[in-house]
Symmetry: C2
Subunit: 315 residues, 2 copies
């Protein structure tokens, strides 16, 4: 398969044009987003939808997040990521596979139908996690394109994936909200350097590879004209394109920031061998031969419905 987006090359960084569509043959008739929402996503590479989940639903989501964090408190498993200083949990990965509640949530029609509309096909969850950025000492996360990593290290061939972040705490300007550069999804920044094998084990703690250079970030910011912040009340949902440059500052405020994060990939964009030539993560290797599109479910999110429904798919 031809590598449309080579990266981590020796020599100088370079910016190339995006080679894939942004929205895949969809119109306002194909899903819940209207034309102006589709246009905003097309132009900026993200769409922030305030209060997509209600206050009551947020309460359940927060409860389940705390419950999951608590379940994993003593875990040494690789899907539980701790802060690089200290023992506090920063993220729990793969929650659509290892947690009943979040498995169900990942098929909720309210978000899946939007992902389907944006990607113009059936979708599956390529990656999921819950993130917890504690108050007082939440660390920053440097600028990056998720696609660069997914392409190089996981073998995602095309830009046809969308990240969905369900915001579970009020996001203010001062508690480390996601920052995005509008329009950056239209360009691919070729990063410098090689990828070490098994890099993914370290990359959540300290980023070293797949890091865009200063000049490229400046160039994208000049094009985009501003940095946008995903601030808004708990229950809001941010959709952002796989290649949109984003990051976040630290959080010294007492207010923690947590969210649920699903990456929807098009069923027509299945993973292949990593383009960096490295060994893929085991879960992604498995993913390739065992992908079922999500059947969106419209259900009421009550504590009870999640307690009684036990027919889940587990890998």
């Amino acid at each position: 398969m031809k590598d449309l987006y080579p990266s981590r090359i020796n020599g100088y960084p370079k910016i190339i044009n995006r080679k894939d569509p942004i929205i895949y043959n969809s119109t306002a008739n194909d899903g819940p987003l209207n034309q102006s929402e589709l246009d905003f996503y097309e132009d900026n590479g993200y769409l922030f939808m305030p209060n997509l989940f209600s206050t009551d639903e947020v309460q359940i989501l927060q409860q389940e997040l705390r419950r999951n964090m608590n379940d994993n408190k003593e875990s040494q498993e690789p899907h539980v990521i701790k802060e690089s200083q200290g023992n506090e949990i920063r993220s729990v990965f793969d929650v659509h596979n290892n947690d009943e509640f979040f498995h169900d949530l990942s098929s909720h029609e309210r978000i899946v139908s939007i992902a389907q509309q944006l990607l113009g096909s059936q979708v599956y969850i390529n990656q999921s996690r819950i993130n917890f950025k504690p108050g007082f000492k939440g660390k920053d996360f440097y600028w990056h394109s998720d696609f660069e990593t997914w392409h190089m290290e996981d073998g995602m061939p095309n830009m046809r994936a969308v990240s969905c972040s369900i915001v579970l705490t009020d996001n203010y300007h001062y508690n480390g909200p996601l920052l995005l550069i509008p329009g950056s999804h239209k360009y691919f920044v070729q990063c410098v350097g090689d990828t070490p094998d098994n890099h993914y084990l370290e990359s959540l703690k300290m980023q070293n590879f797949g890091v865009p250079d200063h000049d490229s970030i400046n160039w994208l910011l000049e094009k985009g004209g501003k940095i946008d912040s995903a601030v808004g009340p708990a229950g809001s949902v941010l959709f952002f394109e796989s290649n949109t440059l984003h990051g976040s500052n630290s959080n010294i405020s007492p207010l923690p920031r947590s969210n649920v994060f699903f990456v929807f990939n098009s069923i027509e964009n299945k993973l292949v061998e990593p383009f960096a030539g490295t060994t893929p993560r085991p879960e992604f290797a498995a993913n390739r031969s065992n992908i079922k599109p999500i059947i969106p479910k419209n259900f009421e999110m009550t504590k009870k419905s999640f307690m009684v429904n036990k027919q889940y798919y587990y890998r």
Copy 2:
């Protein structure tokens, strides 16, 4: 001298009431601030004045900041503070003594008259610095009350000082602006722990002592109701009370953040022996016996005026 604000005590942290006035017998007749500005400062502990310096003046100020930074690039002197990782300059201290331009600026009527009005007396510069928070990798600065440090380590007896920060770059929410907790100046947080001797040499790089505890910060935030951010265009000036709790998040954005920082102290609040019982910094020991109140000067800030005027006071 009785210690009105004991801190760094063994055992538990404690919050006590402020024992000094906030504004010292001043009214709107005593200076440039009107009654509503005085009230805002009294209630919140700070006052942000947009565009107190013009665009032309900002240009001169920025030039002089860069010139000073450049002069100090290779300096190993203790008044030049580098980032804890790397060799980049974070701050240059004592610029009202060691730099002609910033010495003159520290007597500019536009700021001195406000300091005099707030402190109800003649004033002198107790401390000055220029700060440079680089783009891409500016570090965060944890919550603190300046007064706690100045009291314990430098021997400032009373809360009768005001910090003046002249903002030299546009401050956005996302490039690490100063964060403040409104009303926090009305309470003194007694911090836990002892002060090692010569702590000041390290304290700008990594804060360990005089750090308020989480519960106290939460309590102050609940009282204050919000976190405020000093965002605004270059040329704005922030005045904040010596005891106002403040800090800042990191800055991953490409936009650097720099400012000039003067601490005006009342001539009636001269330093004494440090209340922590430690050795005072040499410059503050000298300060105590050699203090002249500032005579405010109203002058046009042009490149030329600073080049020809060579009659400066140097220690």
